[in-house]
């Protein structure tokens, strides 16, 4: 009897949508089950951390880790799985780039704790207690994972071999990635399982884009209606497909929503947010400085918009901290 290669899945700081994307493979998950044994998957199967610790180094063929790294147990598990796995695949935007949870890097840990545990209207915390990693209660020590100062993308903590982008990732790409890796046909190091070029290159609305694209006013989604057939940008709706890796299958565009950049920067871009800023700003129509400033100011949260999925892996990584 031949033994099948082993795979594992792990969940760090994320919303769980990546786990859902595995389930969204539907019957394709049987193809994975034919090709590999799942040896560790806390959200779905009853294996323990001790089981992983007992494995030989490199025994797992591939581990998919979703979520960013915020807590010290996540860093610990990521390092353990790195030792035990031949390939680590960052699964989804948070593991790939820091994701939406990476936006927490605009706030200091102190501010986050104060807001979440003391100020949120639905919280009643009269003693103002904040979580501690070690607490003494009735003579007993209780431990909670420590909360890091900064959210990190997975490759800022361990070496990552491959990336499956997306928030959430595309089920077909998860299937192809896992099968390519376990069947002994791994792509080159650092490969991202998607296109190399920007989404606009393959966008179905590309043909409706005028030759010279100029934006007179930026419109917000909540108070606008727009043509569901035409390119968003000439309609004043900010769409970020121009500096976002393609390959998502235009899920948002087909649902008549503009791109928000979850697939991360195209192959040749370092800082996705800076490229968004550069591209969107140069599409602004006015020539006169006060008009330019007025139009720029009509984007209320440029950093949040342009770095929605990539703040933790950007050049600045977040707001400057104390």
């Amino acid at each position: 009897m031949t033994t099948k290669p082993k795979i594992a899945l792990y969940w760090c700081s994320g919303c769980g949508g990546c786990e859902e994307s595995v389930i969204d493979m539907a019957e394709d998950i049987l193809k994975i089950a034919d090709a590999a044994d799942i040896v560790f998957w806390p959200v779905a199967l009853d294996f323990k951390y001790e089981d992983v610790e007992k494995m030989a180094d490199g025994e797992i063929a591939a581990t998919l880790i979703n979520g960013a790294i915020r807590l010290d147990n996540q860093e610990h598990e990521a390092k353990l799985l790195r030792r035990k796995s031949r390939f680590i695949i960052a699964h989804g935007s948070c593991a790939h780039l820091g994701g939406v949870v990476g936006l927490a890097n605009f706030s200091a840990k102190k501010e986050i704790f104060k807001r979440v545990y003391r100020e949120v209207p639905s919280v009643l915390n009269t003693q103002g207690i904040l979580p501690e990693s070690l607490t003494l209660e009735s003579g007993k020590e209780m431990e909670l994972p420590a909360f890091h100062d900064t959210v990190k993308a997975l490759n800022q903590v361990i070496e990552v071999d491959y990336y499956i982008p997306g928030c959430p990732p595309v089920p077909d790409q998860i299937r192809d990635a896992v099968l390519a890796v376990v069947k002994g046909d791994p792509p080159p190091d650092g490969h991202v399982f998607a296109d190399t070029k920007a989404l606009c290159n393959t966008c179905s609305r590309n043909a409706s884009k005028p030759d010279k694209l100029q934006i007179k006013e930026f419109r917000r989604l909540y108070d606008s209606e727009w043509d569901p057939e035409k390119c968003f940008l000439p309609q004043g709706i900010i769409c970020l497909g121009l500096a976002t890796r393609g390959g998502c299958g235009e899920r948002c565009i087909k649902a008549n929503m503009p791109c928000r950049g979850c697939f991360g920067p195209p192959g040749n871009v370092v800082d996705q947010g800076a490229k968004f800023l550069s591209a969107i700003a140069s599409l602004m129509e006015p020539y006169e400085s006060s008009e330019i400033e007025r139009l720029a100011a009509s984007i209320p949260d440029p950093a949040g918009l342009f770095y929605r999925h990539s703040l933790a892996s950007s050049i600045m990584r977040g707001r400057i901290s104390e």
Partner: protein
């Protein structure tokens, strides 16, 4: 106590402002040595990534100088710079970088005096602000 000497990165366009800096030097005008000049072909070539990278690597301020509007060697590169700069300033504020630490100005090839004046002003403003409060988050 060591006196704080701001580090200013200057991106100067090849056609006007870099020449302006040369004019300044040739006419023996003095300006503070705090500026480190990077020559670029056009102020429109200054990618916001350059500015972020400068701050990330320890700059206290960034100065972008280009041709006066209407004089751009590439017709409207400087207008593009102005558009990016307007939006970038709003974004940098969210990263905790004050407005006075970034400046976009027009300096022509003959304006040596103006170059010296802008650099001096910038250095003094950033000197008063002091170093970037706190640290840029790094890998560790």
């Amino acid at each position: 106590m060591n006196k704080f000497e701001p580090k200013i990165i200057g991106f100067l366009c090849n056609w006007c402002s870099y020449e302006g800096a040369d004019t300044c030097g040739r006419s023996r005008k003095e300006y503070p040595s705090n500026i480190r000049v990077v020559r670029v072909m056009c102020s429109g070539r200054v990618d916001p990534q350059f500015v972020l990278e400068a701050f990330h690597k320890g700059a206290d301020g960034v100065l972008i100088l280009g041709c006066h509007p209407g004089d751009c060697h590439y017709k409207e590169g400087n207008i593009n710079a102005m558009k990016r700069f307007a939006l970038m300033k709003n974004m940098l504020r969210q990263f905790g970088i004050e407005d006075e630490r970034v400046r976009l100005e027009w300096v022509s090839a003959s304006e040596g005096e103006r170059f010296a004046q802008i650099v001096s002003e910038m250095v003094e403003k950033v000197r008063i602000l002091g170093p970037i409060p706190g640290k840029i988050r790094n890998d560790n």
